[in-house]
């Protein structure tokens, strides 16, 4: 097992008819930042949910760091969904405690550094947080983990340009050669510079998996432009 993520012949269909994913196979190595790109409805979110154990594949299997998706893999995956999952009236420090409790690889120091640079006080209650602050909070929680796989679902959508820069810088500074970051997005232009490899997903199938430099060298254009070409309506 050299590959961090092994997705083998995975398919997902609802009621035997609606094929959201068809025979998807993908192997992601360690130490790369990979973009999962595709239009809405291409199956990105479905694939991501399956990697996180939030959905069962209809066929095929997914292994992360050698384990099938389950309790062990969840301990090694840090997931940032495109939803706000924080709720209730807990304080920031209570949430940090919660994460420290359940995740062995959670780093208080990293969290403290990020919270201070984002100006989020430990005593702030969730109820009084704006949606933007909650999203930043979720980013802090994900990036404070020393996980094997980071899965970020649309981390920069609906975020102002300054915050986008912060998020991308955080992703880069958190980089380590033992972990892989999978970013699912349709805002390619902004994140292109930080990607090593890209996966193009169309209608539930992988149409491309290659390095970004290959795209630029072979097609003489940016990944963003090449994407527009491939997925032209």
């Amino acid at each position: 097992m050299n590959e961090l993520v092994e997705i083998t012949n995975v398919s997902k269909s609802y009621d035997g008819r609606n094929n959201v994913l068809t025979d998807v196979s993908l192997k992601l190595p360690k130490g790369k930042i990979v973009g999962l790109l595709g239009p809405n409805g291409s199956g990105k979110t479905t694939l991501i949910k399956m990697m996180n154990g939030l959905l069962q594949p209809s066929g095929g299997s997914i292994h992360i760091a050698g384990c099938p998706v389950g309790v062990e893999s969840k301990a090694r995956v840090a997931y940032l969904p495109d939803r706000t999952y924080l709720s209730g009236n807990r304080t920031v420090s209570e949430i940090i405690e919660f994460f420290c409790d359940f995740y062995q690889d959670f780093s208080r120091e990293k969290a403290a550094a990020m919270l201070s640079s984002l100006d989020i006080p430990y005593s702030q209650r969730l109820k009084s947080m704006s949606k933007g602050t909650k999203e930043k909070m979720q980013l802090v929680l994900v990036m404070s983990r020393n996980a094997d796989l980071y899965i970020l679902d649309e981390p920069i959508a609906g975020v102002d340009p300054a915050a986008r820069d912060y998020i991308l810088r955080t992703i880069l500074s958190n980089y380590n050669p033992e972990s892989t970051v999978l970013i699912s997005t349709h805002l390619i232009g902004d994140i292109e510079k930080v990607l090593d490899e890209v996966v193009f997903l169309r209608r539930g199938q992988i149409v491309l998996y290659t390095s970004v430099d290959n795209v630029r060298e072979q097609h003489g254009k940016s990944v963003d432009d090449y994407f527009r070409e491939v997925f032209a309506c």
């Binding site: 991308l168 810088r169 500074s173 292109e192 510079k193 090593d196 970004v212 003489g220 940016s222 990944v223």
Partner: protein
């Protein structure tokens, strides 16, 4: 501030060019230590793997040398640095002549234009 990079061409090549420029212009003196891959990648806001590729390329060209204890240093071979500077100058010159040709200047006219331009600069206009 992130470096200004084009997504149309491989980024690592652009990084190579930029670091070369910094070396030939003296920003990184011969024999001096370069920042680590991670540090420079953070400054440039690029993927560390991409910066690593750039470093590897520069090493291949001999402009930087990896030392086991000191990290990466700029070569002390002044000849090599001068060569690189000359290559870059040639490229810029080629580019200049090509562009002038695109707007209808001949080689001779282009050179005259340069001389006139620098005379005016000296006179302070």
């Amino acid at each position: 501030m992130a470096w200004n990079l084009d997504c149309d061409r491989p980024i690592y090549l652009q990084l190579v060019e930029r670091i070369q420029k910094q070396i030939v212009s003296g920003q990184y003196r011969p024999g001096s230590r370069l920042p680590s891959v991670r540090e420079l990648a953070a400054i440039a806001s690029v993927n560390p793997n991409t910066m690593q590729k750039a470093f590897t390329e520069l090493e291949r060209g001999g402009l930087i040398i990896t030392q086991r204890t000191n990290g990466r240093i700029v070569t002390e071979d002044q000849n090599m640095i001068d060569n690189v500077r000359r290559e870059m100058a040639c490229k810029h010159t080629d580019e200049f002549f090509r562009r002038m040709e695109e707007i209808g200047y001949t080689r001779q006219e282009s050179i005259e234009r340069i001389l006139k331009f620098s005379e005016r600069e000296e006179r302070g206009e």
